[in-house]
């Protein structure tokens, strides 16, 4: 398992090495904290950065750090950040030779990736083929099975057949089971069925919901794993066949399938499971001929058995957690890989040091069902200290818009051990003051102080059961 690779990294425009030079100018097709993150990486790489913005984001401070900024539409994402033609046109008129899609918006849009490349603009992400293969949960699952990566027992592919056939498929899988929308994602389009009496009616409902939300009524079913842990693996691959994993992240602390806290390494798995999980992720990425950054997600049951769920063919929100334990700048590595350069690190040189923890801070009111809050930030007092990292685009005087998602900051800590990291995070959340906007800071403080979190004895349903 694992490969001994020996080469030396060449970062010159050496024709003998047959890689194109680094991009001259990258257009960032995103907004907010991830746009700022990518902007910073570009500046350190001496690559020019072009930002796009909607009229709503015109006053954003981070735009001033870009070399160029182009307005691409009005406030609604569908009228701006999702306008593929305007984004590509902005790249053309500014002379950008690559587009970084960030996460969300067009990041996993294979048609967009193809369009960019057809216009001679590199899309910083995998090939459209790999994106389609892994983006569709059914085909990703089929690939996983072929690569002998453990998958959750389920309908192999989209659920088909008459009522009797469906009941037979379900009986083979066993109850309780989960109905999922094939085109869904982010935890949406999922329903649990406890026994066969509810199956057919729940399927009808799920088909309607899926059609409405994802324009496809295709479903698949799989065994429901009770009290699972969510563990994912960060993958980085270049165009020269090198695929490296950068360890796992435990994202079990969720609320309604939305991640609240992520950490690395995971204390829910033993070292053997860690080794096998990471190897499985690497194998799957290789089987899909994946390039640049990606994340392979697994569920781990109470016996430590792991099952593949899906691949996210993009950079993820929680990538800083892996950056802290590995010392690797994942955005830069992603850009280098997209530019055709070989990875600077190998599986052997990757080392995980210490423990990193991230809290997602949302402008939501925990006391009124996590209702999103918009408005002016009058007071913003962030925490600091050794091993404390804050990723945010907001500041005092920033106006949070109701048009975009409610993530306003990511607070990451890195310490020598998990208890140290938790203590540090608690201290930071106590210091962190944002007013008058309601945020999830007090809620996070309660959650990470809970004894079950401290002993790493939680599962994905913990938050909803307990708070």
């Amino acid at each position: 398992m694992g490969e001994t690779l020996s080469w030396f990294s060449v970062r010159t425009a050496d024709p003998a090495f047959d890689c194109q030079p680094m991009f001259r100018r990258i257009l960032i097709a995103n907004r907010g904290e991830i746009a700022l993150r990518i902007l910073r990486a570009c500046r350190e790489l001496n690559v020019e950065a072009v930002c796009v913005f909607s009229e709503e984001d015109r006053r954003a401070e981070y735009l001033k750090l870009a070399d160029r900024a182009v307005c691409i539409g009005t406030r609604a994402p569908k009228d701006s950040y999702l306008k593929t033609d305007r984004i590509i046109a902005a790249a053309e008129v500014t002379g950008a030779d690559a587009i970084h899609p960030g996460y969300g918006f067009l990041a996993e849009n294979a048609a967009f990736a193809e369009k960019c490349r057809a216009c001679n603009i590199e899309f910083i992400g995998p090939s459209a083929t790999a994106m389609r293969l892994l983006g569709d949960k059914s085909s990703a699952r089929a690939l996983a099975k072929k690569a002998k990566v453990p998958t959750i027992p389920g309908s192999d592919g989209v659920l088909e057949g008459d009522d009797n056939e469906i009941l037979a498929t379900a009986a083979k899988i066993g109850y309780p089971l989960m109905i999922k929308a094939a085109a869904g994602g982010g935890g949406r389009g999922m329903r649990i069925v406890q026994d066969k009496t509810d199956l057919l009616s729940t399927i009808k409902q799920a088909e309607q919901e899926a059609e409405g939300a994802f324009q496809s009524s295709a479903l698949y079913i799989e065994k429901y794993i009770d009290r699972p842990r969510h563990v994912e693996v960060q993958i980085m691959a270049d165009a020269h066949g090198h695929v490296v994993h950068l360890g796992e992240r435990d994202c079990t602390l969720q609320r309604r399938y939305q991640k609240l806290v992520e950490e690395s390494p995971s204390h829910s798995i033993d070292s053997r499971t860690r080794r096998d999980l990471c190897a499985a992720a690497t194998k799957l990425a290789r089987a899909a001929e994946y390039t640049t950054a990606g994340t392979v997600e697994f569920l781990v049951d109470s016996k430590g058995k792991f099952y593949f769920i899906e691949v996210n063919t993009r950079i993820q929100v929680e990538h800083p957690v892996t950056e802290m334990i590995s010392g690797i700048d994942i955005i830069k590595a992603q850009i280098h890989a997209a530019a055709g350069e070989p990875l600077e690190f190998t599986q052997r040189t990757f080392k995980s040091t210490g423990h990193a923890l991230e809290c997602r801070i949302n402008a939501e009111d925990p006391d009124t069902g996590f209702r999103p809050c918009a408005g002016l930030i009058e007071k913003f007092r962030p925490p600091g200290g050794l091993g404390v990292r804050l990723e945010t685009h907001v500041h005092e005087g920033y106006r949070i818009s109701p048009c975009y998602d409610s993530l306003i900051a990511k607070l990451i800590v890195h310490q020598a051990s998990r208890p140290d990291a938790i203590r540090c995070m608690q201290r930071c959340l106590d210091e962190f003051s944002i007013e008058p906007i309601k945020t999830t800071i007090p809620f996070l403080r309660k959650v990470i102080g809970h004894p079950d979190f401290l002993t790493a004895s939680i599962d994905t349903g913990f938050v909803e059961r307990t708070f």
Binding site: E55, E56, R58, R59, V70, C71, I72, G73, T74, R75, S80, D85, R86, I87, I88, A89, A90, E92, V93, T94, C119
Partner: protein, 154 residues
């Protein structure tokens, strides 16, 4: 008839209620008022006898960015780019420009080309008036909402 006092009152009302755009028609007199501001809301006005028409920004008549139109020039507005691309004043390098300063335009008049991804899009005036000023250079990159021409409306 056009009554300056009345117009002043309308302008005051716009400022007090933070309105961005107001169109008023009374018989055969029409007044269009526009305030330069980054706010994209148009709030409904409920008022007395004259018929109030609420104007909604559309693709070509989007809100002017600050400083481009003053409240003194009641009839001066702008044609804004509905897309991102390169501005061209003529259909091709050999042809004459579509319009020039002083040209009369109406709703369907093609005023320029904005090119993106090798597709040449004809941009229409979508308003009636006279071209007062050409605000961009031939070949210049334009963003969404960028004012291209200032127009004195009829």
């Amino acid at each position: 008839m056009l009554d300056i006092d009345r117009i002043r009152k309308l302008v005051d009302m716009m400022v007090t209620n933070d309105l961005v755009e107001l169109s008023l028609r009374d018989g055969d007199v029409e007044v269009n008022l526009r305030r330069p501001t980054a706010v994209a809301e148009v709030m409904p006005v409920v008022n007395g006898a004259p018929t109030m028409i609420q104007s909604v920004p559309d693709a070509a008549a989007v809100l002017a960015p600050e400083g481009s139109v003053g409240t003194e020039d009641l009839k001066l507005t702008a044609i804004h780019s509905p897309m991102v691309g390169s501005f061209y004043a003529a259909a091709d390098p050999e042809s004459a420009p579509f319009i020039h300063v002083g040209s009369r335009v109406n709703i369907d008049t093609v005023v320029c080309i904005v090119e993106a991804m090798k597709v040449f899009n004809e941009i229409k005036a979508e308003m009636s008036g006279t071209i007062e000023e050409i605000l961009v250079k031939n070949g210049e990159a334009v963003e969404y909402g960028q004012p291209l021409f200032s127009v004195r409306c009829d």
